[in-house]
Amino acid sequence: MRVALLTLIGLALFPFFFHAIDGYAGLATQIVIVSIASIGFNFLLGYTGLLSYGHAMFYGSGGYVAALMLIRVMPQHPNLWLAVIGGTLAATALALLVGALAVRLYGIYFALLTLAFAQMIFFVVEQSQDWTNGDDGLQNFPTALLPVGPYTIDLGTPLPALALGPFGNLSDIKLWYVFAAVALLGVILGMRALTRSQFGEVLTAIRENEERSSLIGFNAAAYRLAAFAISGALTGLSGALRALYDGTVAVDAVGIDRSGSFVIYTIVGGVQTLFGPVIGTGLIMYLEAVLSAQISYWRLIEGVIFVAVIIFLPAGIVGTLTRKAAERARQRRALLAESLRARTGGPT
């Protein structure tokens, strides 16, 4: 409950920090959407130890399939639910297919195989002119509407006008942000339940000792495949939302830079933490948006940040903070126990 409430407050306040920097009204929404992919990536890396260097194939397929559904399947009645579900399912199916081959490999071999698959998908997308419009990507597809009960909502609608002083106006924010924030909140809470479930418990066991896990009766490959599919599904969901929000999807969504970005966001924020991927995504995307407009060597700065985190904060930002807090709590408890013993004259 506490986690849910704090996340809700954080998400509600988040976009107002962006008012100070002009021209980034949409960035908050994009960060919230992409965070879902980072959470998916982190689930795979953190709970199975598998580092995928091809997650853009799920992100991109989610985006392209959602867009294609609007263009080809339901141009007259563009339904956002269906487009998102379609994109997510397509990414999940792809993950099951790739995973069936990849989850028996480990370490660098797994990373290379996922990279190879992603490059194949990239090639297919780039070459399928008729469907994907090649390098230019898909644009101007019908605006997807969100039917909720008797209403049909256009997520492009701004919130009601309400002056907020230095934080601008409530109407700066569109319904899209609310929708994406609710989706992220759901994903965070779902991930928390997932990692504490039997499934998460078994994944942790397999990661710690696969040989023993197999010989107490867990099918390790099946668990890794399921984890890979869940990870791919979340990344596909993110890709679909992003394409619909941006109103465009292009080949960079399936590119190697995109795959690398999930690695960077997650490691900077903190692997195996609930909020690390969100913090990492927010920080790097924010810096990128602010700096890349003014500095031509943004990529260099990004690289320096990545290297600095790996060297100085190997557990990532959130991971390091959590560890420090746990350490302090332990010391406090030890001190308390010490003083209690001194006072009661008990054994030391």
């Binding site: 504490r196 479930s197 040989e211 023993r212 107490i216 399921a226």
Partner: protein
């Protein structure tokens, strides 16, 4: 017969680690498998537990051919193994180690239980506690298992195997590396376990083998050299010859 092999063999290239092994264990029996170093005992065990694939022959468990079953599937039909080097989850407590094994038994090889927590499964705790008690690990149940003493780690490995609720338990050198006292304690525990299930044991400690086994199978160069009661094996000239150089008759416990 609960477990049987016919013509079982394992070759690595031209080298036959095991060949033509005809072997059978009756329900409830405590059988030892002994033999000089390199006799192929561990290979034989690995084929029984399913971690090594046989290159020839057949394995029957309760009359069914299980030769092609994976190690994971074999756990679920009732074959469990404790390793020569304690194979545990060092980061987890003793209790959690046993809970995982009990969880595997309850839910099967794979279950997409992405919401329900294992704490909800009362049986898991019951089965884990029972295994902990049977191996006398109750007073270290909440210790991180990587911090246990050597003997306790080995006993935990057996407790993990036990928590999967096997009908036959394979113990690969359960007292290896233990002090005399620890070894005697473990021996008493194994003897107690054997009263309620079938136990197959590889061991170099001849006092232990001669003391607790119902019957003994001797392997040499990957083949069965002899089968018999401890007394028969002790008196067997071929067995004594096989052990000469490595072991004297005195070491055979005679």
């Amino acid at each position: 017969m609960i477990l049987e092999t016919k013509g079982l063999g394992k070759s690595f290239g031209r080298f036959a680690a095991n060949a033509d092994i005809d072997f059978s264990v009756a329900q409830g029996e405590l059988r030892a498998v002994i033999g000089p170093n390199g006799a192929g005992k561990t290979t034989f065990f690995n084929m029984l537990s399913g971690t090594t694939e046989a290159t020839s022959g057949t394995i029957f468990f309760k009359g069914n051919d299980v030769t092609k079953l994976s190690g994971t599937r074999r756990v679920h039909i009732g074959i469990a193994k404790a390793f020569q080097t304690a194979n545990i989850y060092p980061e987890q407590t003793v209790r959690q180690n046993c809970r995982l094994a009990a969880l595997a038994h309850k839910q099967g090889a794979f279950a997409l239980e992405i919401v329900r927590r294992s704490e909800r499964l009362a049986d898991v705790d019951t089965l884990a506690e029972r295994a902990i008690e049977q191996l006398e690990l109750t007073n270290v149940a909440d210790v991180r298992s990587g911090d246990l003493a050597h003997g306790d780690k080995k006993r935990l490995d057996i407790a993990i195997a036990l928590a999967t609720q096997p009908e036959i338990l394979l113990l690969d050198e359960p007292v290896a590396g233990m002090s005399r006292d620890e070894a005697r304690k473990t021996e008493a525990l194994v003897r107690k376990l054997a009263s309620s299930m079938t136990v197959l044991i590889i061991e170099h400690d001849m006092d232990l083998i001669m003391g607790i086994s119902d019957s003994i199978t001797v392997l040499e160069s990957g083949r069965v050299l002899a089968n018999g009661t401890p007394a028969e094996i002790r008196a067997n000239q071929r067995v004594q010859d096989a052990y000469l150089g490595g072991h004297s008759e005195a070491e055979m416990g005679a």
